[in-house]
């Protein structure tokens, strides 16, 4: 399958001399949900802006479904929808007019049914006649999404889609993302909410100081770095690990009140039942058990800090 997006050796140096991106290479397949993670100023927005035509690249090439974004910009851009980080709307226009405007701008024939469906999906239908300046922040963001989807793009870019967004909108947003994915739309998003990337994204790219330091399937990444951990809260404080348990890779934490066991959740035998039996045999009482898992955030912090 040919990639829907292919970024090769894309570099960006701003006029000030600041290097925003050092040679970025990235391919995204059709129908994928790809999450770009990275600290502020890492170059996430610059990369998206280059692909969408808002910023010109210093060198390199970007193909959207095989169309060069510079030479064949019409075909490339017609496939892309962008929801930028900041809300930017014509404040005097009505909701319906501004969505229809974007569809026209992208060269699509007016389709009242399609616009109605879109506004209904985004709970904007009742507000269709309202000027955008009369809307709340969350509603404005919905309008931004409606505009980006108005021309039925094949690739949707969401730059920090859930930053400063209330719970309802966040839930709706992910619902929309799921539905779009089911329709085969490719979604590329940047986010600070790593749990969301972990839950939603098929693959994750970590960008730091203008370099793409890692691209990995979310599941593989979690497998590789995502160790699980069993914490056993002791009934009585333990000075040292008793000899009966010497064969287990255990360590004591919290001043001997917690026994910690790291294991691989994907392994056929996690060892947990045996460990618990051995504890019983050794006459060690415990009051609580807890399992946890390395989050993508831990992995991310690890990568960015150790990559320094």
């Amino acid at each position: 399958m040919s990639p829907v997006l292919s970024v090769s050796a894309v570099k960006k140096t701003y006029k000030s001399g600041q290097v925003a991106l050092h040679e970025i290479d990235l391919t995204v397949q059709k129908g994928e949900i790809f999450a770009l993670l990275g600290p502020n100023g890492a170059g996430k927005t610059t990369l998206i802006s280059i692909i969408c035509g808002l910023v010109s690249m210093t060198s390199g090439q970007v193909l959207v479904a095989g169309h060069d974004i510079v030479r064949d910009y019409r075909a490339a851009r017609a496939m892309i929808g962008l929801v930028p980080q900041e809300i930017a709307l014509d404040i005097f226009a009505t909701v319906e007019d501004t969505v229809r405007f974007t569809r026209g701008l992208f060269g699509r024939r007016g389709a009242p049914d399609r616009i109605e469906q879109l506004l209904r999906d985004l709970s904007l239908w009742d507000k269709r006649g309202a000027r955008t300046m009369e809307l709340s922040g969350g509603m404005k963001r919905r309008v931004m999404i409606a505009k980006a989807l108005s021309h039925d793009p094949d690739i949707l870019f969401l730059d920090e889609p859930t930053a400063g967004v209330d719970v309802n909108l966040r839930r709706d947003m992910w619902e929309i993302v799921r539905r779009l994915r089911d329709r085969g739309v490719t979604i590329i998003l940047t986010t600070h909410y790593i749990e969301e990337a972990e839950e939603m994204a098929d693959r994750v790219g970590v960008i730091d100081r203008g370099r793409l330091v890692l691209v990995e399937e979310t599941a593989a990444l979690m497998r590789k770095f995502g160790k699980r951990r069993l914490s056993i809260m002791m009934q009585q404080r333990m000075e040292a690990i008793p000899p009966e348990l010497a064969s287990w890779p255990l360590r004591l934490e919290a001043g001997g009140e917690r026994l910690v066991y790291d294991f691989d959740a994907k392994a056929p035998d996690t060892g947990i039942p045996r460990l618990l039996r051995d504890l019983g045999t050794a006459g060690i009482d415990y009051k609580d058990l807890e399992t946890s898992r390395n989050s993508l955030e831990d992995i991310f912090v690890d990568l960015v800090e150790n990559g320094a």
């Binding site: 910009y73 017609a78 930017a88 026209g104 701008l105 060269g107 024939r109």
Partner: protein, 256 residues
């Protein structure tokens, strides 16, 4: 999609024209009221004490100049605001990310701005006929000058809108350069009425050529030859187009 993005051009044009409808009083009533005031002051109060200028009654004489003045200021302000405002509100991202060429976008924005100024110009012409007898000797040339001037100054306004980084800069060229040039450009007098050296200095004022050519199309008299006028306005238009070509090529103030 292949070929030109006509729907995109239409979307911009229609949205820009809708803005005029929303602000119909500001867009249409203001120039009409201003023109009526000019007629009362210049045509009525002053003109009644003036002889004819170049064989034309003073009230009728100032009509082409007034229309030109409006075309210039309206063309510049409409087009500059049309492109500056999306920059200011950051909605310009949409234009930059759309499958529309710079030429198409300019065509749409400048077309809308020029349409508005021509409409206002014609309204002023209609208003003027209520006050003074207006003849148009060369209607074809009149329309040609009207369109060329409206388009050229809309292009000029578009450039100002791209160049401006704040509202002050947006206002500075119209108020500091264009208004003085129009008032000194023979809208209210023939430059023959000026003493030397001002008469010669006036020949360096581009507006003189616009007003003169336009007035010639009405009454067959002008300060300079009609070919010179036409040549000037075409040259100005080419200059604006060349500047715009450079702006889009370099991404000046649009794309970092």
């Amino acid at each position: 999609m292949s070929g030109l993005n006509f729907r995109g051009i239409w979307a911009i044009y229609r949205t820009e024209m809708a803005r005029t409808r929303r602000t119909v009083w500001q867009s249409v009533a203001t120039p009409v009221i201003t023109t009526v005031l000019y007629f009362i002051v210049f045509g009525g109060a002053i003109g009644s004490r003036m002889k004819q200028v170049g064989g034309v009654g003073y009230g009728a004489f100032i009509v082409p100049g007034l229309i030109m003045l409006t075309l210039l200021t309206q063309g510049i302000s409409n087009a500059s605001v049309a492109i500056y405002f999306p920059k200011f509100t950051r909605t310009i991202f949409e234009l930059l990310s759309a499958p529309i060429s710079s030429t198409e976008a300019v065509f749409a924005y400048v077309g809308a701005a020029a349409t508005k100024s021509v409409m206002i110009g014609l309204i002023i012409l209609a208003t003027a006929t209520l006050f003074v007898p207006v003849r148009v000797l060369h209607p074809g040339w009149m329309v040609a000058f009207l369109l060329l001037t409206a388009v050229s100054f809309a292009l000029f306004g578009f450039i100002i809108g791209i160049w401006a980084e704040n509202f002050e800069q947006l206002a500075i060229i119209p108020s500091l350069v264009v208004t003085p040039l129009t008032f000194l450009g023979g809208a209210f007098y023939s430059i023959d009425m000026l003493p030397q050296p001002w008469r010669t200095i006036s020949l360096f004022n581009p507006v003189v050529y616009l007003v003169s050519g336009f007035r010639w199309s009405f009454y067959g008299v002008g300060d300079v030859g009609v070919a010179t006028s036409l040549g000037f306005i075409v040259a100005f238009m080419v200059l604006c187009l060349a500047l715009l070509w450079w702006i889009f090529r370099s991404g000046y103030r649009l794309k970092p």
